[in-house]
Subunit: 280 residues, 4 copies
């Protein structure tokens, strides 16, 4: 077990008394400046997490480890990222467990890539595809900064040209027209493999759904997740005034061998889904 002390090169979180939060990479010789004064990183290195460090003028900052959640929220972004409320759910739905081999497109800023890499570590691997080299460079920097590159292969390619992998446990798409890549995804997945996608509009859901049904995928689901935060005042407990109303629609499915399965007809699909029934 490592000691619970801040180390050189750690990414740490400093929280001021006004609840302002700062993510700081500890570099010997460097300094952290605030409007309450500065702290030299060397004063922070070796200090225990959960305690306070102080600026030269005595202002305290709480020293905390950075969680995976916080790393995800703070990747540098050039585009919208997939958010943790969706990421946690996606990891479970596409079975991103230790040892899994997962293909992903596009890489984007790498927020989901980071979460996938952590989830399949140490024995699994993430193969992430991106068409824009500037975006890939940004994601690489984010993953490197989070120390998550070991389990990731980054590929600069349009997945319309296919994935290199052919036996992936899962595939996830965050691209503009996922319905156009279903054949490529199918070739990349092993039998019964997990498929997931996120799209922002109902039009894209409709098109992707039509493609999945057409191609005979199984266990198709469409879902939205809403997160509602509360004010942390026990004597006046109530939700925040405003909330994020939309980040995207999630679509999941399972790959089926061609011809093995005939999807239920539309009128059956329209019926409220019965809950799963355990057997055994």
């Amino acid at each position: 077990m490592t000691q619970n002390l801040a180390q050189a090169n750690d990414l740490v979180l400093l929280v001021g008394r006004d609840d302002k939060r700062f993510f700081v990479r500890l570099v010997p010789g460097a300094s952290f400046h605030t409007h309450h004064g500065f702290i030299r990183h060397d004063q922070i290195i070796g200090q225990p997490f959960g305690g306070a460090v102080r600026t030269h003028s005595g202002h305290p900052y709480l020293l905390l480890q950075v969680s995976l959640f916080q790393q995800i929220m703070h990747v540098k972004r050039a585009t919208a990222i997939v958010y943790p409320k969706e990421i946690g759910y996606i990891l479970l739905k596409i079975n991103a467990v230790n040892g899994a081999r997962i293909v992903e497109a596009g890489t984007g800023s790498g927020a989901l890539t980071l979460a996938l890499a952590r989830a399949v570590a140490p024995d699994g691997h993430v193969f992430t595809y991106e068409v824009r080299s500037d975006m890939q460079a940004l994601a690489r920097k984010n993953l490197e900064s989070a120390g998550a590159l070991a389990n990731v292969s980054m590929k600069l390619r349009n997945i319309a040209d296919g994935f290199d992998e052919s036996d992936a446990d899962a595939a996830f798409l965050d691209v503009r027209e996922p319905q156009d890549c279903l054949a490529q995804v199918r070739r990349a997945l092993k039998g019964g493999g997990f498929f997931g996608a996120i799209v922002p509009t109902t039009n894209q859901v409709q098109t992707l759904l039509a493609g999945l049904l057409q191609d005979g995928w199984a266990q198709i689901e469409v879902e939205e997740l809403l997160m509602r935060p509360y004010k942390i005042v026990p004597e006046r407990l109530r939700p925040d005034d405003r909330m994020v109303a939309h980040t995207g629609y999630l679509i999941f499915a399972r790959k089926v061998d061609e011809g093995a399965w005939t999807p239920p007809a539309a009128e059956d699909r329209a019926v409220e889904e019965a809950d799963d029934e355990p057997a055994e």
Copy 2:
């Protein structure tokens, strides 16, 4: 890489053309009976996932691997379980990554325990406490069935008497009166350690929040997650008629050394929380 074939002792999913789902543990010599006829497990063993197996009367069933999500949903339960939409979020919030050491109470049916064990594998460990021996026995059976016992220590004890661990990375409580165990949780956690809890009522949120604020915990949050499923009909895309409206309130916080931190006053807390601000 293992072959993508069903093996003896695997837990597999069989899906009928009517979308009925059956979880079956493959045991040589056993049979699976449906109203469309039966299939001998020996016929299933060795078959590729993603294809169909057929009853003696020719009715096809799709053969699929069981995901962690599905294992969680299908633990045998004696009480309400924590649901996957919350579990995925909890795993990220309390930083349940490979190598983490996590204490949990109560074990309940073991649904969250299973997810925690998978998330911290192979190098981490889950220490799960439960007061009821019948419940612990049920959870043990569920974890064993999922092959997840290796990373779990199960303890039959009231956490009012304290945890054995003193340097846990994270703690999660799913107990009736979490506010009464905050001192014990604090002793079990390392500095800056992650705390999470789920409670069903607003009254419990109020009491737990008051306790956390009183004891100077940091980064306190209260949140609800809502999951809205859609009918999978592309030409008539719309949400399901009904949805689960409530499974629980999630509360998160970080342990702070005593005296290191003064929580903001209530009037400040009531103010809409500013978004985190990256620095570095």
Copy 3:
């Protein structure tokens, strides 16, 4: 002021101690039967609202007036009705106030017609169109039973053939393909008149929106309303386990003279709508 006593021919609500609710039309000589015994209507007539009436075996039933809300919820229905959570909002959005002249299609079971008739009474009028005579007959029965026919004209006609009215203050459509009737609605409305519609699917929203934008309608809005009920247990306050997740999408717009107005381009529309700004 009328006396607060149940009268012959009143529709009243009887509530048992088990919270079972019965809507009863009081008819001299008739009887109301329950598994706790019977009550003769003559025993109820003349009793004050808010008190109890008793079966011959002494079981009490609470005697209450029936609200408009309850009348709406209990129209006899052959199809899905528009629900009160939407109705209240619709009445305000399309300005259904005393004196307004409103056209509606289709009549359906008459739930919304009933609410519109009450809202525009005593000086306004509702012109409601329906193609199915059996449906119209059902709605007529519901409106008659609620005493709301005085302000309603019922027409058996497909609105593809146009409305008779040409200066309506507002129009509301609950039909399968509202986008096909926009020209007819436009002719029925006065300048600046209010348009509303409810549709169940995202596909219909897309088509109707495209039609409204194409034809230069103003102040177009699309909204969903969600109602979340709570268990009424003060010491364990929490939402119900399940809720209605979808009843329909609401679309509103204002009629504009042809050529008077150019709708903003798509890229502008995509921008988050600014809040209204008061001037004067």
Copy 4:
């Protein structure tokens, strides 16, 4: 029928091509100034609604009637107002129909008062109580501006001292501690009368609920309404990014004669409410 032309003293809505909205009271001799130039009110008076008026530099503004919804949204406010999504629902739940006599406290900025006055017009009446004279003055100005004073009596009094009315059809409270006024509300209501309240926090819901149950009120309900707006882009239909997450909890109940009714025990109340069942 009045002509569909803007009249002197009308409150009208002017909408710019950039979708900016201005509420203007038409006063002969006055002018309306924008950064696209000015329009003299005399140019607007006599113009048809639904058409455009133009500034001296030729910039068009759409001329529209102001709806009740818009009047409510644009009352001048000194405090939070009750919002239309709740108001429409409240009107139906407390049976605010033509002829009803309704007591309300506090008046606040008069947004709900305005809606109640319109709903009970022309034969009903609203008695609205307020303790702060500055607030009452503001509400009076808002009601006068909307032409809604005829059906309203405004009283400057703390309802702890009781209402003057004793046979009201309905009562609505938007006060800080509604549970302290239940005896006064009971005396103001007729038997079976409708009670409604809005409170922002779960703590207030708990206290009010306890009071209502203690005093034997019937048909108690607690509900929240959420409104989710969509971007009006048919080819990319999706919800807005953010939404209002909380405006208040709604509580409804019916007055019952003392001793006539024993409320169900807590364990029964905790059970999912059965839907109403029609009889007759």
